[in-house]
Symmetry: C2
Subunit: 147 residues, 2 copies
């Protein structure tokens, strides 16, 4: 398995950056980082816990959540709330984007800030003096396949 140092940024340099802040690099954090690095999109907290458990059966949820808190403090992940109300972590390299869910089939898509829809949301609210945090935007409806 590829060593962490060879993962794409911002993951490869993470151990060093943690240590630079007086924080520590541990096996448990490595597992979380591998999960995040291979996802590069969005995952619920529970999904991250599950995938870590696939790496190490003994993974403890609280350790995962504490690691996610630490990574969020470094700006490597952000968390929002999905359509089902669970914590949802956005992995940084995926860029800031919202989510669109089909209430019928459950599929979901990203809302990219550069897409027409994403831009029009941001723009429409900007006109009202409101700065939208697209990573917290969740839109639910029916996709064309389900209509």
């Amino acid at each position: 398995m590829k060593p962490v140092s060879q993962l794409a940024e911002p993951w490869g340099s993470l151990p060093g950056r943690l240590r630079a802040r007086g924080l520590r690099w541990t096996a448990q954090r490595e597992a979380v980082v591998r999960v995040l690095a291979s996802a590069d999109g969005h995952l619920t907290g529970a999904e991250i816990v599950d995938r870590c458990r696939a790496i190490d059966r003994l993974t403890i949820p609280s350790t995962v959540y504490r690691t996610l808190d630490a990574l969020e403090a470094l700006g490597l992940v952000r968390h929002a709330h999905g359509a089902d109300g669970r914590e949802e972590y956005h992995v940084r390299p995926g860029g800031e984007h919202g989510h669109r869910y089909c209430a019928n089939c459950g599929r979901h898509w990203d809302i990219d800030p550069d897409s027409p829809a994403g831009a029009s949301i941001v723009g429409a609210f900007a006109a009202e003096g409101f700065v939208v945090d697209l990573s917290h935007v969740t839109v639910v409806g029916r996709c064309d396949d389900c209509d």
Copy 2:
């Protein structure tokens, strides 16, 4: 206290409409209906439980949630998920609308379908073949006061 029959529609006629479906009108349901009728906007499940408890100290959560299920089946409320991930019930007469939350001050506003922002959300996704259910839309960001 005003009898339920004198509440504004759709509440006033509710007992009869429940019975017409073979369902029943109970003191507990009356409490839930009074809470909803005096709210006419959106409430979390937990808020509804609390307000019912203010009417009847002995209110049981499961009864409230079961009543909300029944009312949802009649189309009197809809539920979505707020920024904090809790169940959020929209009371029908308020019309279908989304929610806009300020991540900083916690205030929230409705997104009206007729407002420029509401219309642009619905319109932008319609262009992608996606029918937005505005009552499930949650937008988080920073309001102009907090910027």
